[in-house]
């Protein structure tokens, strides 16, 4: 019969597993929910905003809306201003502008506005006058300048001297409306400032009627859709990280809690058999376990939520530092993550106990009467079916990974594929464990001494228990090896591709600015054009006519020589002649256009870099750096690698940290229940240390089994990832396994496992008798 302490330990183990899991779920959902975009400061005073027609969402998650041309925007603004209750309807003209303070570009502001736009943000003059001339500007008071001061301002045209005509509240940069109209001819939003005490909803519906289909009316929090594109992109990356984190932690939690409960039930077979013998029906046994799971899950929810909520602000700050969230990111406690976390514990516990309770219900009354429990080694048909179908699904996803030519899809397939393979390995473990044990312990059989024999036979006689304790190791090793291997392999593949493309020479790159102005050289201008609703990324380079990729040409049926109408950044529609169709694609962009054409229609476009030809003198000025190509490529790699490594470490940290906890948890539970076996060993003449050694050896064997199976899963996933990568970069890719990470994770599991098993075993004193307490 179980002791009260033993039972308590079992439930405590399940509680810990569920609480930590709920903690991680709470943490990631809280952070996820906080990732809502704020209403941009520059539009805070506009209660209603009319946005230009949204572009259709394609591969780019942040298509910028197709702009109105300047005359169209002015006309629409005049009609909107006529709505009763509207004090002013002002086109939101924004463009690249960055003040240079003390010789360096100020990185806090990269957006300039026309003076009329100041009213949309509610900023009023605190000193001086509005900007009149081309070289006048109004600065926010945070820059600490006064009217009359001279300030260098960077725009797409290059650095120029401006005179401060006035100072406003906040941190904005304002040029005269005439200048703004020239540098920002395309308009994507018109802000409506309402008269006092006017009903927002009434104005919004009137604005709907005025715009018809040509625009979208936004009010309240909906206005956050106009947040700067760079912030939205950063936020999107953060969402990807948090989604992966939430998906992985959810999976790991259900897995660990399920294996903990399965383990608990396996350990309690005698107790359950006794209950069956004195009259509990299978259904009553199941109900009892469900009840326990609910209680444990509910308690775990509360504890986990408290831990998650306490840690959320700290991790939020880490996300901002790492560049996964914009600086405006703050952790907010929304209702739904709290509800999700509170529900997660009971749901996870019920899912976890479901299969275990089915087995428990089948426990036969006679099991209470048997002296030693030698497990029935055969696996049920349902378990075989579940294991084999998970394996099939995992292999199908691996095949999807291998043939995917899109990096994002490939990584997603790989993660879910690995999850399915982990499930398959865990489900089939009881069948796989005996041959693996025989293989691993073959040398032990040749050695004299009892330790090896005890470890080997202990693992062999109870394959289910062995499989249960090996499961968390399997999970931990599989994800640690897969995630770190995936990152290392893809970083290696991309570095190889860049190295192949490297040319010698010197380039000009931005230094503290989002891009290069024209004064830094004729670099490729980044802009967007629209064909119908679809945005196309374009690069303005020195070439005649347009070059498009084969894929795009096939999709739209365009051929060389054809003239296609395109909407440019200034809202004008211009026919573009297709000059060339490129089979190999154009790298990051959909289309190349003549540089002067792009400049003419997008006066604020910037270039990410510019080639410096040998004959030219190196340009100078603020916001510019001249480096050789190799340094430039290495820097780009370093930044990208840093982000990917932080991401990978978070995923490995969650799965490995939690997995390691589960390893210690199950082994500790197992050790407590095996006190009687160990006491028998003591009576048979084993010393304290021999018992501890036998327990440690058995744990080490379990870790070895988990490592072998987990490694097999990870290798299967990595091989498919490698195939997918070489599909993308069109070159063979070497499989890179970061051995220090793998070694660290396996070592951690081993250390925890040996400690968790050996410490309780060693505590059994010589005076302890194998009392028949059953």
């Amino acid at each position: 019969m179980l002791t009260l302490r033993g039972r308590w330990m079992s439930l405590l183990g399940a509680f810990l597993a569920a609480a930590v899991g709920v903690g991680v779920v709470a943490l990631s959902t809280l952070l996820f929910a906080s990732g809502k975009a704020p209403v941009p400061d520059r539009l805070a005073a506009a209660a209603v905003i009319v946005r230009s027609p949204a572009a259709s969402v394609t591969a780019d998650p942040f298509p910028e809306a197709r702009p109105w041309s300047s005359p169209a925007a002015t006309g629409l603004a005049a009609r909107l201003a006529a709505i009763p209750g509207v004090a002013a309807a002002i086109p939101d003209r924004v463009f690249y502008a960055q003040p240079v303070l003390d010789g360096r570009p100020d990185e806090s502001v990269t957006l300039g506005q026309g003076w009329a736009g100041a009213r949309l943000g509610g900023a009023g003059l605190v000193a001086g006058a509005p900007p009149q001339g081309d070289r006048d500007l109004v600065l926010g008071r945070t820059f600490g300048r006064s009217p009359g001061d001279r300030v260098t301002l960077l725009t797409a045209a290059g650095p120029a001297e401006y005179t401060v005509s006035g100072v406003v509240d906040g941190a904005g940069v304002f040029l005269s409306d005439a200048t703004a109209e020239r540098v920002a001819p395309g308009v994507r939003a018109i802000g409506l400032v309402l008269a006092p005490d006017v009903d927002t909803a009434g104005v919004a519906s009137a604005a709907e009627r005025v715009t018809g289909g040509d625009g979208q009316v936004l009010t309240g929090d909906g206005r956050s859709a106009l947040e700067p594109r760079a912030d939205a992109r950063t936020r999107w990356i953060g969402m990807q990280v948090l989604t992966a984190l939430a998906a992985l932690s959810g999976f790991v939690t259900v897995f660990v809690v399920a294996s903990t409960f399965a383990f608990t039930v396996a350990q309690r077979r005698r107790e359950l058999g006794l209950l069956r013998a004195i009259g509990a029906t299978p259904r009553q046994v199941r109900r009892m376990l469900y009840g326990e799971a609910l209680a444990v899950g509910a308690a775990a929810s509360v504890a986990g939520l408290a831990v998650g909520a306490a840690l959320a602000p700290a991790l939020g700050a880490v996300l901002v530092d790492a560049g996964f969230e914009p600086a405006s990111y703050r952790v907010r406690f929304e209702a739904w993550p709290v509800a999700v976390s509170l529900a997660a514990g009971p749901v996870v516990a019920l899912l976890g106990v479901w299969s275990a309770s089915r087995r428990a219900g089948r426990a036969r009354p006679l099991e209470a009467l048997r002296e030693a429990i030698v497990e029935d080694r055969r696996m049920g048909r349902a378990r075989w079916a579940a294991g084999l179908s998970c394996a099939a699904l995992g292999l199908a996803l691996a095949a999807g990974t291998a043939t995917s030519d899109d990096a994002q899809n490939g990584a997603t397939f790989a993660l879910y594929g690995a999850m399915a393979l982990v499930l398959a390995a865990a489900a089939l473990a009881p069948a796989v464990v005996p041959p693996v044990v025989r293989l691993l312990t073959w040398p032990l059989g040749r050695v004299r001494g009892a330790t090896g024999m005890l470890a080997r036979e202990g693992a062999l006689t109870a394959p289910r228990r062995t499989a249960g304790t090996a499961a968390p190791v399997l999970l931990t090793v599989a994800f640690a090896v897969m995630v770190s291997g995936m990152v290392a392999t893809s970083a290696n593949a991309y570095a190889a591709r860049r190295a192949a493309a490297v040319e010698t020479g010197t380039v000009v790159v931005p230094d503290g600015t989002p891009g290069l102005p024209d004064t830094a050289g004729r670099g490729p201008l980044e802009s967007t054009v629209y064909t119908g609703e679809r945005p196309l990324s374009v690069s303005g380079v020195d070439r005649p006519g347009a070059a498009i990729s084969r894929g795009l040409a096939d999709q739209y049926g365009w051929s060389v020589g054809q003239s296609v109408p395109m909407v440019f950044a200034d809202g004008e529609t211009v026919p573009v002649r297709v000059g060339e169709i490129v089979d190999s694609g154009l790298g990051q962009v959909d289309m190349q256009l003549p540089r002067d054409l792009v400049r003419a229609h997008d006066p604020s476009a910037l270039a990410p870099m510019a080639d410096l030809r040998a004959a030219e003198p190196a340009p100078a000025g603020p916001g510019i750096r001249v480096v050789d190509v190799a340094t430039y490529a290495a820097e780009a790699d370093t930044e990208e690698d840093r982000l990917i490594w932080i991401f990978a470490l978070m995923l490995v940290g969650v799965s490995a940290g939690y997995g390691a906890l589960a390893v210690a948890n199950t082994l500790l539970m197992s050790a407590v229940h095996r006190v009687r076996d160990f006491a028998v060993l003591r009576l048979a003449g084993a010393t304290r240390w021999q018992v501890a050694l036998a327990a440690a050896a058995e744990s080490a064997l379990v870790v070895a089994i988990g490592t072998l199976l987990g490694g097999a899963v990870a290798v299967a996933a990595l091989v498919s990832i490698r195939a997918g990568l070489s599909e993308q970069v069109r070159a063979p890719v070497d499989l890179v396994v970061p051995w220090p990470v793998v070694g660290g994770v396996v070592g951690l599991c081993l250390l925890l496992a040996v400690l968790a098993a050996a410490v309780p075993a060693r505590g059994i004193s010589g005076g302890w008798t194998a009392r028949r307490s059953r």
């Binding site: 019969m1 009260l4 039972r7 013998a277 009259g279």
Partner: protein
Amino acid sequence: MTTVMLREVRAVYGTGPTRVTALDGVTVGFDSGTFTAVMGPSGSGKSTLLHCAAGLDRPVEGTVTIEGTLLNALDETALTRLRRDRIGFVFQAYNLVSSLTAAQNVALPVRLAGRRPDPDQVAAALAAVGLAGRAGHRPSQLSGGEQQRVALARALLRRPAVVFADEPTGALDSATSRQVLDILRGLVDRDGQTVVMVTHDPMAAGYADRVLILADGRLVEDLTDASAEDIAARTARLEASC
């Protein structure tokens, strides 16, 4: 009247080379209000006989009937209900739930049946086995004999048609064994309870009205009102011939 009837019961364990025939076509009935002891050397099938008679185990051939109900026809849940309502068990290893008090252990089957236990009835059952003052103690605070008497009180609470006892005195010294056997004898004489007990102890078997002796899964002796000495002589002879 026959309370429990086994006909041509065969029970087999294991498969292949480890296959063991535990019962080889046994037919036996247990009459209402009698005390029967089942004896035999280790491996003779006496425990299997008890398990099959009580519906804890299903024979591969033959039928088992309790109070006219054919056990072979019942599914696991119906069988559990029948055991809970009509059969009492006492095991060698007591099998009490260690986290529950004596009174809670006694009341457990009633709770499992979904009914509220009657505290007076529980107290009476404990008093009947001489443990009136021990209701609040947990198994770890009770001696072996006391634990076995709690198990007996649990078996008797629902007034079962038959009590099966598997080596009930196997873990007890002779003085406490006699206490437990006196209680069982009293139940038969006073209340007309049917008791079937597996034992290897001739002294314990001496308390029974009828002694069955099994060897190699077959019934070899069926004695009525035998003395402990007579039983000891016959089992000794049997064990010597094995």
